[in-house]
């Protein structure tokens, strides 16, 4: 069971959270999504990274706040968690 560091509540077990998938996907403004291709990119396409991935997590059975996390999809190790609106922290050795 993962131990996830909610930026508002501290470290809590995985069962309190729900994963919301890849983070920093910009919802296109109506005028920006005129063509099907760019809208499809937003709607369906994700990176499916093997390695470090920024994700949205929801502390649903806690403070109910959404936040971001950097998780290694291969090892399940969390490198950092940070609040919505904040920029991802720089990780040593990570290619961004």
């Amino acid at each position: 069971m993962l131990l996830i560091d909610c930026p508002y509540c501290g470290a809590r077990p995985e069962i309190e959270f729900r994963c919301g998938g890849e983070a920093h996907i910009t919802r296109p403004a109506p005028e920006a999504a005129r063509d099907d291709e760019s809208f499809a990119q937003f709607l369906y396409f994700r990176r499916n990274t093997k390695g470090m991935l920024a994700e949205n997590w929801w502390h649903v059975h806690g403070c109910q706040r959404w936040f971001h996390a950097l998780r290694d999809t291969q090892t399940d190790a969390f490198a950092a968690t940070y609040k919505i609106g904040a920029t991802p922290p720089d990780l040593p050795g990570s290619a961004s």
Binding site: L3, A29, D36, F39, W66
Partner: protein
């Protein structure tokens, strides 16, 4: 029956309490033992070796080990009805008064098993036989082959009744967890717990701590006897408040982020458990884990190596030193290393005659050779066992020179027990579960931990360190200890890795995996048939599977595959170790979460009222909802018809409390809802309500409900019953992640309000006298409006809305007042009757009102269900706006909502049934769509249905066919409204 004597019990030795005798039964026969015995040790004390039949061949099998790795001695424990458990290892079950254990997998009895014939038929049971045999005819598989195979092969039977025992869950945290309380683990715990601020757990699966020290009675540590050192160490540990010691506790699973699953067996060993649970499942989060799991002894693979009476050498030592049981008077020890020479010395002293068959040449042996000779043991070097004899118990072994010794004819040695030693296998299972990679250590012919991935460290024998002083030091250092060394008695070591199996080519089977009946030949077959990867060989032969997970067999199987492929073991690799380390009962995992505690039951405030009125309930998610209200002598259909007619003709009362309710507050509440809903929300005036649709970004319908504006910046919205949670999540997601700049707040209030829906032409007349502070007249409160005031003096939000097509109101009062208001409404006139969810469904279908999740399936757009007219004309942005413009959403020929009328008015269609153009078309025929809702309508006096049909809006009037279990229904497509097509009644 008279108990047999404990013929193999010594007067001295062992840690059993001879002053506390006990009696249990084995297959109904009384067996005596002493406190401290396991079932296995007590059986061996009686000279009973035969305890089971093997998986496929039904060969007689005995106890081979003294711990949890036991593959053979699997027994059913019976503690009465509801307290039976199969596949318990005799080596782990603690003997106690009144315990009943039974052997498994034989018919008619253990000593006379008819299926032993399988042993003679074994050529057809070789590896992969399931895959090659019983393939034809296909229909024979389910009815004939599978039941036969399942009965003939396998392990114990699952109990047929519910488990009556109680199980507990516990959660804990610690800085250091030490798994295994052998010499390394003890030293690690001693070091780690020196700092009183460090919370340390020390867990061990055995009944007492000490590990191998418990049967290493003659060893010395720091000038003390090993057992005295153990006692002093345990006393020190017990005195430390920061230390938690758990015996009978297996660390069975190493999960993510250093969470360890522990299974503690709390009360099985007690005759009178009283208030205690049977088992306790711990979820322990550890800062650091020290794995001191020890090593398993490896069997030797020789023909007939599975006869009862052939044990692991170290286990014979354990029975001797820990339980005072001498497994045999004429002991043969087969070895390829020095370790069992200690057994030879100890068995000699206990009075046995001992012959050592050592695969090594004299020049490969150490000083142990001279010691054993001096003690009177017969020693045959460069010698191997090539055959065995005996049915219920080994009677003789056949030996032959190997390894460059002068050839001579094999000869038979009589014996009554054999100890085998094929080296040790470090127990790396938990380490592997933690995703750590293994490294092959050629010098000990075993895999050892490489670099850890999680915060753990292996110490002692589980990383290939076998000398006692080195194990103690390794543990001490792993625990963070410094400035200390240990002095301990040396033990014979030395080991000849590789190939005890080249002689396993004789006529009889040489077993690699005892539990799955996998022989050296099977492994050879698998490789011959092209299986190269070890994971494939494992699955084809089943080696290393089932309850023991290959603890004793894995390395021998790997060695055979590597040899056959002529490649190093390191390249062959090893199979994945999976949790649990040893079997854990389902009860421990379930813990208290069963029956009422399995899933919470949600009841509405009016549940009791409904019950008293004869309600029959249905489960909707976790809610209990009144399906209909049965009156004496009524069928469900009659009750539903009565309820639905009463609403259209008179007035009905419905409990709508389960609807999801969310309050939206804040200066941007309206702007927020305008982006969330498909509808135009900004135009909604205070005091008005509107039917609202929520879409997903892809344009498909997500949820529906009512949007009511209570005040400028205050909305009350409702969702479907089942969608309440996900709608709230949807709102929070957009508020927090997409539009954090909006000042709007979504508060779930579903359970704060009791909702009583009053529907029917007389609804206003019934409610008006109860309401104060609001004018509910036709002129003052039109359809789709909301007022706040009081009902019977209780604060009330009154919605004028309808899900029946009749004049209707929904009375919202604080939940606790629900029952009182419910009674007040029902008592306020004649002919007012409650109706249930079935009548509600019938009436909304009569009106063609959709239910999200019934008419829609996650691929329907608003236009598909006839709500295209709601499309907003000028909205800058809302969820689903761009999605609706996708080519797929505007494609001609999409499925659209229609009504269906059966030609036979009594024929209610099946929901989900397929719709086709012609019943006589060629199969497979194209489906036009499917039935989404179907009811007998009491108001239309015929069967009605809603359906999603390709291009349905243009098909009104067409005749199509609907599948039935035995044929077809011919139906007309019609508009999806069956009652009051003009919709005037809601404005009544």
């Amino acid at each position: 029956m008279k108990p047999t004597s404990q013929s193999h019990r010594l007067d001295q030795m062992g840690r059993i309490d001879r002053n506390r005798p006990l009696t249990f039964t084995f297959n109904g026969k009384p067996i005596q033992g002493y406190a401290g015995d396991t079932v296995a040790s007590a059986l061996l004390a009686h000279g009973i070796h035969l305890v089971g039949r093997s998986f496929k061949y039904h060969r007689p099998r005995g106890i081979i080990s003294h711990g949890s790795e036991e593959p053979n001695a699997l027994l059913r424990v019976d503690r009465g009805a509801g307290r039976e458990e199969p596949n318990n290892r005799a080596t782990v079950i603690e003997a106690r008064d009144g315990l009943q254990v039974f052997s498994q997998n034989h018919w008619p009895s253990l000593t006379l098993d008819a299926l032993e014939i399988n042993d003679l038929l074994s050529p057809i049971f070789s590896a992969g036989f399931y895959y090659k045999t019983f393939m034809w005819p296909a229909k024979f598989w389910k009815k004939l082959y599978e039941p036969l195979i399942r009965r003939a092969s396998g392990l114990g039977e699952a109990p047929g009744t519910a488990d009556l025992d109680r199980y507990q869950h516990r959660f804990a945290h610690c800085e250091v967890l030490v798994v295994g309380a052998g010499p390394s683990g003890l030293a690690a715990a001693l070091a780690a717990s020196q700092n009183p601020q460090t919370r340390v757990f020390l867990v061990d699966e055995s009944t007492e701590m000490g590990g191998s020290l418990l049967h290493d009675a003659e060893a010395e540590i720091d000038g003390q006897g090993a057992l005295d050192w153990l006692e002093a160490s345990l006393a020190t540990l017990a005195s430390r408040k920061n230390l938690t010691l758990l015996t009978r506790t297996t660390a069975f699973g190493y999960y993510n982020h250093n969470m360890i699953g522990l299974a503690e067996r709390v009360s099985d060993h007690l005759a009178m458990p009283q208030h205690l649970p049977r088992e306790r499942l711990w979820q322990l989060r550890a800062g650091r884990v020290i794995l001191a799991c020890g090593a398993h002894e490896r069997p030797l693979v020789f023909p007939g190596n599975d006869r009862p009476g052939i044990l692991l050498a170290e286990s014979i030592r354990a029975y001797l030193n820990r339980y005072g049981v001498l497994a045999g008077q004429r002991l043969v020890i087969a070895t390829c290393g020095g370790a069992p020479y200690q057994l030879a010395l100890e068995a000699r002293r206990a009075g046995a005659s001992v012959t050592l068959c050592d695969r090594r040449r004299p020049d490969e042996c150490g000083p142990e050779l001279g010691l054993a000779e001096a003690a009177g043991c017969e020693i045959l070097t460069a010698t191997a066992i090539v055959g065995t004899r005996g049915h219920d118990r080994v009677r003789a072994v056949q030996i032959a020179p190997i390894h460059g010794a002068p050839p001579s004819l094999p000869r038979w040695l009589e014996c009554d027990a054999v100890g085998m030693h094929g080296g040790f296998t470090p127990n790396v299972q938990l380490y592997s579960q933690s995703r750590g990679k293994l490294r092959f250590a050629t010098e000990i012919d075993a895999f050892v931990p490489g670099d850890a991935v999680q915060a753990n460290q292996s110490a002692g024998a589980c990383r290939g360190i076998y000398d006692l002083d080195a194990c103690l030091l390794d543990g001490w250092q792993a625990g963070g200890g410094t400035h200390r060394t240990f002095v301990a008695s040396p033990r014979p070591g030395g080991f000849l890795p590789g190939g005890p199996w080249e002689d396993a080519t004789g006529g009889e089977k040489a077993f690699v995996d005892f539990q799955n009946d996998v022989t050296s030949k099977d492994i050879g077959f698998a490789v011959d048939e092209g299986f190269r990867a070890i994971e494939h060989v494992k699955r084809y032969t089943t080696t290393g599977m089932a309850t023991d997970q290959g603890k004793t067999s894995n390395m021998n199987a790997l060695g055979l595959v590597a040899r056959k492929l002529r490649q190093p073991v390191a390249r062959t690799g090893t199979t994945t170790f999976r949790l649990p380390y040893t079997p854990v009962s389902f009860g421990a995992f379930a813990g208290p979460h069963h029956e009422a505690m399995f899933d919470p039951v949600r009841r509405t405030p009016m549940h009791g009222e409904a019950e008293a009125a004869g309600a029959v309930f249905e489960d909707v998610g976790t809610w209990k909802r009144a399906l209909f209200f049965r009156r004496e002598g009524e069928t469900m259909a009659q009750a539903v018809a009565r309820e639905a007619r009463n609403v259209r003709e008179n007035v009905g009362v419905f409990d709508a409390s389960t609807l999801g309710k969310i309050e939206i507050n804040g200066p941007d509440a309206g702007a927020f809802l305008n982006r969330i809903y498909f509808n135009d929300v900004l135009k909604l005036a205070v005091g008005r309500a509107r039917y609202g649709l929520m879409l997903r970004e892809d344009g498909h319908i997500f949820d529906d409900g009512i949007i009511a504006r209570l005040d400028t910046n205050h909305y009350h919205i409702t969702t479907t019953t089942g969608g309440a949670g996900r709608a709230q999540a949807h709102l929070e997601n957009y508020l927090q992640t997409e539009w954090p700049e909006l000042q709007a707040y979504a508060t779930p209030v579903t359970e704060q309000w009791a909702v009583i829906s009053v529907q029917g032409p007389r609804a206003r007349e019934v409610l008006a006298p109860l309401m104060t502070g609001m004018d509910i007249s036709r002129a003052a409160m039109p359809h789709m409006s909301v007022r706040t005031g009081a009902c019977c003096g209780v604060p009330c939000r009154l919605f004028r809305v309808s899900f029946t097509g009749e004049l209707g109101f929904e009375v919202n009062v604080p939940a606790d007042y629900g029952p009182m208001i419910w009674r007040a409404i029902l008592d306020s006139g004649r002919g007012i009757a409650p109706y249930g969810t079935q009548a509600m469904h019938v009436m909304r279908a009569e009106k063609g009102y959709i239910i999200v999740g019934q008419e829609t399936d996650g691929t329907a757009s608003p236009a598909d269900v006839g709500l295209g007219a709601m499309t907003p004309r000028s909205k800058p942005d809302y969820v689903g706006q761009r999605g609706l413009l996708r080519a797929e959403m505007t494609r001609p020929g999409r499925k659209q909502l229609v009504g269906l009328l059966s030609l036979d008015p009594a024929q209610v269609l099946d929901e989900g049934a397929q719709i086709v153009r012609h019943s006589r078309a060629d199969v497979p025929m194209a489906s036009l769509g499917h039935v989404t809702s179907a009811y007998a309508s009491p108001n239309c006096r015929c069967a009605i249905a809603l359906a999603m049909v390709e291009n349905g809006a243009a098909r009104h009037g067409e005749t199509v066919y609907v599948t039935r279990p035995n044929g077809w229904s011919k139906v007309h497509i019609c508009p999806p409204v069956f009652v009051d097509a003009q919709g005037s009644r809601v404005h009544g």
